[in-house]
């Protein structure tokens, strides 16, 4: 370690590994992981989310939920920005996920044509 900058650069690299343990007031993604969700490809959705987070250096909370009864619309993914409504997106493909992350999470704009439900905060 030859300078404080070197340490800080290293910190930037390793910080995101433990980001998942810090703070709860982050944008939240909830993925339906009931049997129905998994059968419809929820695992791929989840993997895509994780890849995007990594690629774009996002600080998100990713969690999962069981079946909510809308099995025919799986894979389902909810997005909730702090203090905002919880938006449920359905019938998702990997590309949809990327679109939602860019538009909704990063730019704050709900992707209306993919929305299937809205839960008020």
């Amino acid at each position: 370690m030859k300078s404080l900058e070197e340490l800080r650069d290293l910190r930037k690299k390793v910080e995101k590994d433990i980001a998942v343990r810090k703070g709860l007031n982050k944008p939240k993604i909830i993925i339906g992981m009931g049997t129905c969700g998994i059968a419809a490809g929820a695992r791929d959705i989840l993997k895509t989310v994780m890849e995007e987070i990594d690629k774009r250096d996002l600080d998100l909370e990713v969690t999962q939920t069981g079946c909510i009864g809308m099995c025919e619309k799986e894979p389902l993914m909810d997005v909730q920005l702090p203090g905002k409504d919880r938006i449920t997106y359905g019938n998702l493909s990997k590309d949809d996920v990327r679109k939602i992350i860019v538009n909704h999470i990063i730019n704050g704009k709900v992707v209306n044509d993919l929305v299937i439900a809205r839960l008020e905060e």
Binding site: M1, K2, S3, L4, L7, R8, L10, R11, V14, E15, K16, D17, I18, A19, V20, R21, L24, K26, I30, M33, G34, L46, K47, V49, M50, E51, I53, D54, E61, V62, T63, Q64, T65, G66
Partner: protein
Amino acid sequence: MKDSIYRSHILICTGTGCVSSGSKKIKHELQDELADKNLLDEIKIVETGCHGFCEKGPILVIYPEGVFYCQVKQEDVTEIVDEHLLKGRVVERLLFKEPSTEKSIPSYTDIDFYKKQHRIALSNCGKINPESIEEYIANNGYEAAGKALTEMTPEEIIEEVKSSGLRGRGGGGFPTGLKWQFASDSESDKKYVICNADEGDPGAFMDRSILEGDPHKIIEGMIIAGYAIGADEGYVYVRAEYPLAIERLKKAINDAEELGLLGTDIFGSGFNFELHIKKGAGAFVCGEETALMASIEGRRGMPNPRPPYPATKGLWGKPTNINNVETLANIPYIINEGSEMFSSIGTKNSKGTKVFALTGKIKNTGLVEVPMGTTLREVVFDIGGGLTEDKKYKAIQTGGPSGGCIPEDYLDLPIDYDSLIEVGAMMGSGGMVVMDESTCMVDVARFFLTFTQSESCGKCTPCREGTKRMLEILNRICEGEGKQGDIELLEELGEHIKETSLCGLGQTAPNPVLSTIQYFRNEYEAHIYDKKCPAGSCQELASAYKINFDTCVACGQCVKVCPVDAISKGDGKYYIIDEAVCISCGACEKKCPVDAISQG
């Protein structure tokens, strides 16, 4: 480390406490279960240090939700993975139940035990993997060392530590900044920094927990101390009974060396620092600084008269600065957050926080870190959850074998160095044992004196002979052979030993006896004059048990547990205890299903 990040982290405590309650097995089970369900690249298992709540171990915390599972068993693992990690449903039955309300609490931070705590020294314990230097760095680690070495002069650092008001956490409470100043003022071509991790007080385990759970914090504290006083070499003196602490510290030192955080020209500042571990054989007296240095030098661990103080003539005759583990763990915080921030916590003359090992007849036991000035009542009843079986509080013993017992009248005493000394106890390294009405205070005094007596190194007469004589008197009193004048003799002996002993061990050894005489003289008198132990704990003095014939159902269970065959069948309908044979062990009372047996 794999490339992509994980959606969830399972933090599993692998401190000594949780390992002994089976956390390693749970970890393996988890690993298998995650592999089975193909989740290994989504979910990361992280081994952490101690959460302080060892009583509830093995402990598992799952992020991002921060759900706290306790007393997890191997067979619970499948359910946790299926329910929590796959379906996002919290496993209610494994949550912590607040003893006062019986309510299940999902989140760590909402549990009473943690709510009132303020964690500085323990800030990373249970939150990071102690074997990963990356996780320490990610949590702002080595920032303070970097700042100190590249942006501050040694004088500025000493000034900062001085104005923070930090005092030694090992027991003495000497101002840390001043200690650094003395070592810095001594001129020499070679100086040393020592971390005293020879934690010896029975029941205290904060130093072990910090070394096991956050070893880099100690290394960072030592780098800063070394730079401040001008030392390029350091020793961590840690007892060999702490194998896990030694292992993790070793790894931490290696990792720090590899990254160039130890070695030469650290942060390009031109400052060199190397660190060694010295394993101690576990003698209590080696926690005393002169004895500790003797032990590092390879001599017999015995104290030497001071002055000369280590700051002028220490290890191998060179100026040496010795700080306790917990003291050093506060240094990075002070440098990062500033002395003002640190001194805003605590009381007038005791700044910051203190870690206590809370134990005894109390609902929640474990390691707690609270701001100085927190009252004993808050620690016992809010954090500790009150006494077990809702018995009556009698006293709290602080400071281990050097401390004293504090009765109920002082429950609202704000805890700091000076207030504890005023009531005849002391901070010590932070042991806290809560006692209820069934604890005999004479026996407590005897327990601690037995410890100091056997740990006395024997170099000076007052400690070697004096504690022996005091112990003989206490033994006599507990066995019902006490006689008039014993209390006065104990007081006289105690005062002499305190005044004339060579080191801190002897100077404080009489404290448990003197403070119990001060507050519980009536118990001593009851033992000596009435030949009774009011708490019913001294067996030789306990009166025999009796069976109430009206309640007895003649089930015969008491006969089976009686170790001395004192119980026999009476007139067919009930049993009788032979008082001459009964040793008052109480085994029959505990066994009786109808509460027909009682003492006296």
